[in-house]
Structure formats: C-alpha cells, structure tokens
C-alpha cells in the first residue's frame, strides 16, 4: 500500500479522476445496449486479468481458460435451479470447484514445457466442452447437453443475482475487476510474484535459488481458476442463457489469450488495455457487419495480434506507458533522468 501511494502526485490525481469517471459512467450512459457493451469490456478485462495470474506470470500459455469460466457458470446455475441456492453462494462453490479442477490439471501439466502446456490446456478446454455437450443430466442437475441452460427470469433482487438495471451489473463487475487488479498488484510485489516470475523465466536458476517452482505455479493456477469461475457466474447471471460452445469453447479461450498478449501479459493494466481495444472492435463488427460478414471480427483480432506481436512482442502497454511518461515528465526533464533522484525510481 505504501508503494501504491508513493507514486507521483500527478499520476495519483489522474488515477483518482479516472476511477471517479468509471463510477459515474452509468449516470451518463443511459442506453442499455451501450451499457451492455461496456459491461462486456469490463468482464473481458476481468477474465483476462484472471488469466494473467498463470499466463502472465508463470511463463506458460494457457489456451483453455474458458473451461474454468464454464465451471463457474454451470455450478452456480445448477445449484440455483435445483436447490434454489443463491448464485452468490454458488459463485463461491463454483470458484472452489474450478480451483480444484485447475490444481488437478495443473499438477502434472505445469511441469510441461511451453508448447506442451499450451497443447494440454487446449485439450482440457475442448475436452471439457465436449463433455458438457454430451451430458444432459448429472444426478439431480440438468445441464441439457449442447442446448445449454436458460435461467428463469426472477424479480430483481440481490439474493437472486438478477437486476433490472444494467448499472447494477456494471458496478458488480467493475468492483470485481478492481479487486482482481489490486490482487495482481499485491502479488507482483510479493514473494509469490517474484518467485513466479523467476520460475517462469529460468526454472533451473529459480530452483537453484531455493524456489519450488511447481508449487508457486500451482498457487497461481488455483487463484486464477477460482477468480475465472466467479466471472463465469457473473456471465451466466448477466446473459441468463448459456451453452457449452458459448462459454467453454476455444473461441473464448483464444480471445482471452489474444487480449492478454495484445495488451501486455504479465502487466497489471495490459488486460484492461487489451479488452478496451478489442471488445469494441468485436462488438462493432458484430453489430454492423455480423449478418453479412460472420467471423470478420475474428479475422481482425488475428491480424491485430500478428501485427502487435511483430512490432511490440511485449504488448501495447509498454509503448503507451512510454508515451504517457514522456507527456508527464516533459516539464521535469533532466530531473527524472537523474539516477540520484530517488523519486525517479520505483522502489
């Protein structure tokens, strides 16, 4: 926290203003469809931030993250449908379940090298989708195979996690995102964060420095899957209808990975930036060209990804940060470059 407040006052001021703007946004935006787009941007930033714990810091490329989102959505929904348990509670159950599945899968796969891990996660993600498409019912729980589940419309209340106003959904996901970003920040500045980064970059050297690399990767996996599943519940409550392909497929997993890499994996704001850039592209092409040109937004995604990786392999956060830095530091030039000036360093 001390470090958080140690930033330059101008940066703190801008951040506070931005944050304030985010919170009064629903007062300005009145169109529900525009609000829906904004909610999805925040939701994707959230998904990608949860991905970041493994994909960004542990040095591997998970391509099956949607499996855990799906587990969250299915768990809370079937618990609500079958026993009337509040989705808020189901959310936690889903999170724990996803965490458990993540650890079981991660235990052997996180030891694999990059390409193998990516392959294994694709298999897990796709396997999970096929499994859910094949199963109509598990014990008392109806999951309806490929046709998916639609939630019954309830009256707007906190208990049922259904709200008449989009703004409520917006505030919920915004707070979820901010919590995850804070968590990311604290993790990056903790032993776990340092150890994860070390193990991701040079596992052999990390082991030689006393780090049990696989243990830290598992911790990251457990956190990441837990948080992803919470987002899955949110998605289910927002859409009130989902099916395996919509929530567990390769498309969602890839989109998350693309957002992360374009924004900047392993950074706090990368996922947010990536979602801010890509989601509108996706929504706009879908709205205006979706009928005549299906799949166009995915072509654009792919092309953006290829171009960004070509010129900014670390993602767009870095060049944008430099741009902002130059803008802010311009008046105080020379001072900032002086290494003896302690305020120029982030310690």
């Amino acid at each position: 926290m001390k470090q958080l407040l140690n930033q330059k006052p101008i940066i703190l001021l801008i951040s506070a203003l931005l944050l304030g703007a985010l919170f009064i946004l629903p007062l300005i935006v009145t169109s529900p469809s525009l609000m829906q787009i904004i909610i999805l941007i925040v939701l994707y930033a959230y998904f990608t931030s949860t991905w970041n714990f493994v994909g960004g810091f542990a040095g591997v490329l998970p391509l099956g993250h949607s499996a855990f989102i799906g587990i969250g959505a299915y768990t809370s929904t079937v618990l609500f449908q079958t026993f009337g348990i509040s989705p808020w509670f189901g959310m936690i159950v889903g999170g724990l379940l996803a965490s458990l599945v993540g650890v079981i899968i991660g235990l052997p796969t996180l030891k694999l090298r990059g390409a193998y891990f990516a392959l294994a996660t694709i298999a897990v993600g796709e396997g999970m989708r096929v499994l859910f498409e094949n199963v109509k019912q598990v014990g008392p729980f109806k999951i309806n195979g490929p046709s998916g589940i639609s939630l019954p419309l309830m009256e707007s209340s906190f208990w049922t996690f259904q709200f008449g106003s989009k703004a409520t959904y917006y505030y919920i996901i915004l707070i979820m995102l901010l919590v995850v970003l804070l968590l990311t920040y604290f993790m990056m500045n903790s032993k776990v964060g340092y150890y994860l980064a070390a193990g991701g970059e040079e596992p052999e050297a990390a082991e030689a420095l006393g780090i049990k690399v696989s243990r830290y990767k598992l911790i990251a996996m457990a956190i990441s899957c837990f948080l992803a599943a919470l987002g899955g519940t949110f998605y289910a409550q927002l859409m009130l209808y989902f099916y395996p392909k919509s929530i567990m497929g390769l498309d969602l997993s890839f989109e998350i990975a693309f957002i992360a890499l374009i924004g900047g994996r392993g950074t706090i704001l990368g996922p947010v930036l990536g979602a801010l850039l890509l989601r509108p592209v996706s929504e706009l092409t879908r709205i205006y060209l979706g009928a005549s040109l299906p799949g166009l937004h995915l072509v654009i995604f792919g092309l953006i990804l290829i171009v960004v990786m070509r010129y900014y392999p670390k993602g767009l956060v870095e060049p944008i940060k430099k741009l902002i830095d130059r803008f802010i530091h311009k008046p105080a030039r020379g001072k900032a470059d002086d290494p003896s000036n302690p305020s120029a360093r982030q310690e």
Partner: protein, 243 residues
Amino acid sequence: MALLEVKNVTKRFSGLIAVNDVSMSVEEGQIVGVIGPNGAGKTTLFNCIAGALPPSSGSILFDGQEVAGKKPYQICQAGVTRTFQVVKPFATKTVLYNTVVGAFATTQHLHEAETKAIEVLKFLDLYNKRDVVSQSLTLPERKKLELARALATEPKLLLLDEVMAGLRPQEVTEMLPIIRKINETGVTIVIVEHIMQAIMNLSEKIYVISFGKKIAEGDPHDVVSDEEVIKAYLGDEYVATQH
C-alpha cells in the same frame, strides 16, 4: 566435522560412469577447487552436490545432514547455493529484481528482501547497475549478477561452476579478489574451474578428477607437481593456459 562431506559418490548414465567413487571433504571457511580436463566428470559431480542430478550411489553430507538425491531447491534451503557456468539471469528483469529473488530465500517481506539485495549489490559493486535489465549486461557483469543472486540467499556453502569461463584474462584477475572477498565474509566456497592459474591462486585445497575418478588431492602446489596429474591432465592443459 567437515562442512561438506562427499563419500564414495558414483553417477552412472546408462552404462557410462561419469563419476566413479569420488570422495572429498570441505572444511568450513575454505576455498576448495575441483579441476580436471573436459568431460572428466567434474560438472557431473558438481550437479550431484547441487541436486540437479541424483547420485547413483554414495552419500553427500552437508552440515551433518544427508543431502544426496534432494531437489535443488531443498539443497539451497539447506544452505548450499550454486551458480551456473552458462549464466541464467532472469533476462527481462532488472539486476535488483534478480537479486531480490535470491534474497527472498531468507524473508517473506519485499522490503527486507530489497534491503538485503541492495547490500549484496553494493558489496559486489553492482549497485549502480541495479536498474539495468539483465539481458543488456556484459558477460563479466552477468557473472557477477549470478554471484549476487546466489549470495543474497545467504548460503553457508557457495558452489561456483566455472565462474571464470569465457572471461578475458584481465577480467579473470578482476574476478579473483571478488571471490576471495566473498570467502572472507565467512562463506565456504567450492569452485569447479578450468583455468588453472585462477584456481591455484585461490584454493587452499585441490581435487583433481580424470575419467570420473579422483586422481589427486591436497595443496595446490603439491598437486601440480604430482606425476599422475601432469600425465593425466596438466600436461597439455597447463602449458596451454600459460600462454
């Protein structure tokens, strides 16, 4: 009691015996050198001690504790830290970050780890490079960073794997006092090395390994004059490094 006691360690790779029944002992505070021609098995022996490879048989006692077959991170936690011949910095991270990773071995808090890391960096004259990303360091600097990271874990025993390899003669002469300085702070050092002169100057005791077997041990100057050593190894190698 010796700090490190290697007893009859053998390492086999499907048919090939890389280390054959080697014993050695290192007293606290010593600098001990292990030399031998390429492929003699000294790196394999080193890896057995550091935990990168489990020995096929034999025992390795550190501080009276059996460490043979333990994982590298356990061995580090026990107080033995190694460096790598081919340096392995966390390439996209700064010098300070790299060192902090090492310093976390003894603390849970970032603040304490940073204090410790800065102390080590100052000790090794790397402090003014602290914000440089490690992939843009020169080779001698990377070697020093490797040392800094290892030192930050506060080891009792430091295992140096060919820390001079690839350095120019002048850089070697700069490295020697650093190693001696580390030793003076109370860290015991085992150094596997190819460059004879370097090790002759540093070590109190030398082990010579050839074809997986220990062929000589003792005072560097006695070892050099040992007939078998000259025949097995020093003959070509020593003359070559003289020029």
